[in-house]
């Protein structure tokens, strides 16, 4: 069995990263030109890594399945990005951001990684401003901040409700500059379908050109996956339609460990599901909880219009249960509380699957104009989708899948157990533990790409002189044949059911059995059901057209096939983790008041899964989490 070495530097927490940087191996400028790096994905993590490494002199090949690197799903992030700048003088510090993030993750992340993240958070804001990211400003010209869930300070920087867009366009601009300079070769409409491992090292990928169907081989000195999360395994999520697990899943099947797949984040403020035709869920930024108040009627099945329900008959349940944080309680807690009140029959809207997010008091306090200034675009979006005016009646919101904390296992260098394979951004498991705080995803994606991997990469590359591989090796041959075989299998089913229907079926099952609350029984049921649906998929799926052409049905079917396999691992992991922590809530393990009951003695560890082959159970490998500098307390957002 593999021994997992997280490679955490020794020494005091506050100087680990500094010490690492000062002693890390370097690659001199003349040698950088000799190395080729593959970056898969062009979101915040991928674009920032590709641009930075190319600027340093490396040759970079960057791949994305979209028509342009600017389309990556990072673009849809609304709320903001955290940084411990303490511009507000409200008591923030790197330590506090570190501690809030670790606590928000329910003490299931690595201390050293999270501390480093908090440290570099400040550089990210500087970097983005230098790139021309138009962050919101005060009248005096200083950067504006807002507060976000799980924090008691205002440390979130934002650009209206489009922070992700502006940060991504900043990274995209830098990437574009490097493409122009010739150091980055950009491959759009290119989907990675396999990882090529040569002598135990990740040295290349197999890519399908989505426009022509052509399969191509790409060799490099190192491969970086920045391919995002797998929320779409649940079919309905806030993720873009194209978000998928294929790149990391194929890497898993080539030997990379998959860590904590059951840590999925369910975001509390999304627009509720309207019907079974729905293709995605739309997030309403968590920043709305700064001024909106969450409530449901006290009475079960209250059918009155919200404005007819008097104040004393409303239950502002987050303010009641968590007075210290109120409506700004962390995401997992807010989501679970919404589920509880809906389970009690107090939900609102179609099917009773919704709670109110009310701006009446905010409008009275600030005026409609100010509320419009802060959230105008979100209110507009809400009205466009639901046909309801949120200035006049409260929004209806309900939790939805939003982010996956789990991902490929990486060490402190962001390298997987497969040497040469780096995993960045949401695709790795490293920094958010069992729950991610708002405005931390953008921070992590950019930290990984701009400031971490450019420093850690030298440690690996400096050992790789003379280890060039070529695409005519048997490993490439075999990988390409495997991809072709899999594609042909899908095309040869010639069924009459779209892969979307199977995907929806899988998603509904996972949402019910492995969603906001999980039990041994529900997980066992899911583990029995998934293989059955999967078997039907492989017998009945319809993929018209050919593999040698632009074929969106084939793309979708390939991704769904991988989601089936991942879905099973996700449930297996949730079943094995016999505790409740963060986004993973096992009904068997709760405190008398319904709060999550962690089991630090048995589960203060990372669960990393190793693929053992088709039809075989994966092996569980544990990495203990040692907290040297902080004491993992029970999370308390009440006082």
């Amino acid at each position: 069995m593999i021994e997992l070495d997280p490679k955490i530097p020794t020494g005091p927490l506050k100087t680990k990263w500094q010490h690492f940087k000062e002693h890390a191996k370097l690659v001199n400028p003349a040698n950088k030109r000799k190395f080729r790096i593959i970056v898969v994905g062009s979101g915040l993590a991928g674009a920032s890594a590709a641009a930075t490494l190319a600027d340093q002199g490396y040759n970079v090949d960057c791949f994305c399945f979209q028509d342009s690197p600017r389309r990556a799903h990072s673009i849809a992030a609304q709320g903001g990005i955290n940084a411990a700048k303490n511009y507000r003088n409200d008591g923030d510090s790197g330590w506090r951001l570190f501690y809030d993030t670790l606590k928000g993750g329910d003490f299931r992340a690595r201390e050293a990684n999270v501390h480093r993240l908090a440290e570099v958070s400040r550089n990210i804001i500087d970097q983005c401003v230098a790139q021309g990211v138009p962050f919101a400003r005060e009248y005096g010209g200083q950067l504006a901040n807002r507060s976000f869930g799980g924090a008691q300070v205002s440390r979130t920087f934002y650009a209206r409700g489009q922070t992700g867009q502006q940060l991504l366009l900043g990274a995209y601009a830098s990437l574009s500059h490097q493409i122009k300079s010739g150091r980055v070769t950009m491959h759009t409409h290119s989907e990675m379908l396999d990882l090529v491992v040569v002598d135990g090292h990740a040295k290349g990928i197999i890519v399908r050109n989505l426009l022509t169907g052509e399969l191509t081989r790409h060799a490099a000195d190192t491969v970086m996956l920045a391919t995002g999360g797998y929320s779409n395994v649940y079919y309905l999520s806030t993720n873009a339609r194209g978000c998928n697990t294929t790149a990391i899943w194929r890497a898993y099947k080539r030997g990379a460990l998959f860590a904590n797949p059951c840590y999925t984040q369910i975001h509390p403020t999304c627009i509720p599901v309207a019907g079974d035709f729905q293709s995605k869920l739309t997030l309403m930024s968590e920043s709305l909880r700064n001024d909106g108040r969450v409530w449901v009627p006290k009475k079960k099945g209250d059918q009155r219009a919200p404005q007819d329900i008097p104040e004393e008959e409303r239950d502002y349940y987050l303010e009641r249960k968590y007075p210290a944080y109120g409506n700004l309680a962390p995401r997992d807690i807010s989501s679970r509380s919404a589920k509880e009140v809906c389970d009690e029959g107090r939900g609102v809207g179609p099917g009773g699957l919704g709670v109110y997010l009310d701006f009446k008091d905010a409008i009275a306090r600030l005026g409609k104009k100010e509320v419009e200034g802060r959230y105008g675009n979100l209110f507009e979006m809400y009205e466009n989708i639901t046909g309801e005016n949120a200035y006049e009646r409260p929004m209806r919101i309900f939790p939805a899948l939003h982010y996956t904390m789990g991902g490929l296992w990486v060490d402190y260098h962001l390298m997987s157990n497969l040497p040469g394979l780096y995993v960045l951004g949401e695709a790795n498991f490293s920094d958010h533990g069992a729950n991610r705080l708002g405005a931390s995803a953008l921070m992590q994606g950019l930290a990984d790409g701009y400031f971490i991997v450019p420093y850690t990469l030298g440690e690996y590359l400096s050992t790789q002189f003379g280890n060039k591989v070529t695409t005519d090796s048997p490993e490439f041959e075999e990988a390409e044949a495997a991809v072709r075989g899999r594609m042909n299998r899908l095309l040869e089913v010639r069924g009459t059911v779209s892969s979307e229907k199977f995907h929806r079926e899988l998603g509904t099952l996972l949402w019910e059995k492995c969603g906001m609350a999980r039990s041994r029984e529900s997980l066992q049921e899911a583990l029995t059901e998934i293989p059955k649906i999967r078997a039907r998929f492989w017998n009945e799926v319809g993929v018209p057209g050919t593999g040698a052409s632009f074929n969106q049905a084939l793309e979708a079917a390939g991704r769904v096939a991988d989601f089936f396999e991942l879905g099973e691992l996700l449930c297996r992991d949730a079943l094995t983790r016999e505790e409740s922590c963060g986004g993973h809530f096992r009904v068997e393990y709760q405190l008398p008041d319904g709060e999550a009951l962690r089991n630090d003695e048995l589960f203060q560890c990372v669960h990393a899964w190793q693929y053992q082959g088709e039809g075989k159970e994966p092996t569980l490998i544990k990495e203990p989490l040692n907290y040297e500098f902080i004491h993992p307390a029970t999370r308390n957002y009440k006082h």
Partner: protein, 248 residues
């Protein structure tokens, strides 16, 4: 609801396209336009027919992947992207015409999918600020007034979808180019490369075959990101000033 669709089908750039008539029956009013197309495609797959190719991704109106013309309007009715069009805004029984963006610089890939890489190449020509990662001064070292930051943000909101060029009778990309130039003109960080940026981006735009602005304002009318046509005035001013400076 029921709809009669006239959808553009074209296998690839080299063959001629045509309108195919498809009935979209039993569509819920709450469905989005793209969800309606999903339903149509699933039914085509059930009959083992090739589904209609169209691109979409975030389905929140921000990624800019959507690129179709609905009833003659790029990105469809309403002030957002095609993914934000809902079936309740159509009449029951209505005939709806769906076609790809029409602009020579956006060649058709298949059905409703067009190649918009020309926009990426224009950004590569100068739509960036040259900087190295790390070593940036503290973010608050340079003050930027709220007014300037807001102007920059208004222009930076462009989603790069291409509707502006698709709507323009001249296939002009000047709203797109103007938006990027205006975004960076309003920021102190954008000043050092201001002149080269305007010149290089306009040259790249011309090289891609996009036409010039002749004040139709069709771009502004269809822009899902509400970019004001005043960015074109800014672009013209920047270009003229940069050309004059270059001539000296």
């Amino acid at each position: 609801m029921n709809f009669h669709l006239r959808i553009w089908r074209q296998d690839h750039e080299k063959v001629e396209g045509f309108f195919e008539e498809i009935e979209a029956l039993d569509i819920p009013a709450e469905a989005s336009f793209l969800e309606m197309l999903d339903m149509v495609n699933n039914r085509l797959i059930e009959k083992q027919k090739v589904p209609v190719a169209f691109e979409s991704d975030c389905r929140e109106g921000i990624c800019g992947t959507c690129s179709m013309v609905i009833n003659g309007i790029p990105q469809g009715p309403g002030r957002s992207a095609a993914c934000q069009v809902y079936m309740r805004s159509f009449c029951d029984g209505e005939t709806i015409t769906v076609e790809p963006f029409r602009a020579a610089s956006f060649p058709i890939i298949k059905d409703l999918v067009t190649n918009r890489k020309a926009y990426d190449r224009i950004i590569q020509a100068g739509g960036f600020i040259t900087e190295h990662t790390g070593g940036a001064p503290d973010a608050s070292a340079t003050l930027i007034s709220k007014r300037e930051a807001d102007h920059a943000m208004d222009a930076a909101a462009c989603i790069g979808c291409g509707a502006c060029a698709a709507a323009c009778p001249n296939s002009s990309a000047m709203l797109f180019v103007g938006a990027k130039v205006t975004h960076l003109v309003h920021l102190p960080q954008g000043q050092p490369e201001r002149k080269e940026r305007a010149l290089n981006m306009v040259r790249a735009m011309d090289a891609e075959g996009f036409g010039n602005c002749s004040n139709y304002y069709a771009c502004e009318a269809v822009c899902p990101a509400n970019i004001s046509a005043s960015v074109i005035a800014t672009l013209n001013r920047e270009y003229v000033a940069a050309s004059a400076a270059a001539a000296v």
